[in-house]
Symmetry: C2
DNA sequence: ATTCGTTATGTTATGTCATAACACATCCCG
DNA sequence: CGGGATGTGTTATGACATAACATAACGAAT
């Protein structure tokens, strides 16, 4: 676990294993990929992964990418407060950049307020080519 | 077909049936719900639905909601040009409001440009309570 | 230290969403 | 009318996610 994430309970063994796999990956991973990566640690069933992911997401350590059905470790020191985090997904190399831009989040909150929509959460995912792949 | 959508080829029978089901629904529908709705019209297999949806999305008549694994008819007269449409999904009544706010799209394009990210498409989905459900 | 509620885990089975592969039909255009 | 492109039907399979139930570990209060 990184020193930056100090605001959540200690992780259980399963949670820690799942987090480490995600944190060590360049690209998002599906739950079943995580399962395969942890068979050597005794994992046998999808629920072992999904239950750990559920907790890790609640702690703000992991995000789900809805457009990929996949998961990533949070790249920010204190993510739990970022209700409107966004992700830029490179369609060539698969890497994901997480951003928490107030310039993007603010107009969304403003729109919701003007509409009378009580905002509980958001999914913001961009697809395209990252700088490296565009140049390559 | 609505008079507003005049910029795409005529729909085939399957495409038209799928579009009508979506257009007549208050809330997003899964592909399998659409399939069930069309069994009386002779639909037997998921592919019949998915293939129609694929075309309808290409025409800009239908959107996919990634966070729900479901589909909605487009609510705008000319949606094909809206690369950064967003959706507000009510978690109580299930209704979806589509929006195409330049105030939200512009800062996303700006961020992408500053990052050197070539934007190909985006998913913007908000979860919460719509005005009606908040008041109810 | 024992009881008891809460949380985590293991396991099997099932449910839900989506596509591969192949065959056949239809349409349109030259 | 011939031939490529597109649409359709069907079977089978792959990929993602959860229900239901049993057992175990933990932690606080007595």
């Amino acid at each position: 676990m990184t020193a930056a994430h100090v605001h959540h309970p200690d992780l259980t063994r399963n949670q820690s294993l799942v987090y480490d796999v995600l944190n060590g990956s360049d690209a998002p991973l599906s739950a079943y990929s995580i399962l395969d990566a942890l068979r050597g640690e005794g994992f046998r069933a999808p629920l072992q992964v999904y239950r750990a992911l559920e907790k890790l997401r609640a702690y703000g350590l992991v995000h789900r990418l809805e457009s990929l059905n996949a998961f990533v470790a949070c790249s920010h020191p204190d993510c739990a407060g970022h209700e409107t985090a966004g992700f830029a997904i490179c369609e060539k190399c698969g890497k994901v950049s997480e951003f928490a831009e107030e310039r993007i989040a603010a107009p969304i909150r403003d729109w919701a307020k003007a509409e009378g929509f009580v905002l509980a959460g958001s999914t913001i995912e961009l697809r395209g080519l990252c700088r490296d792949c565009r140049e390559g």
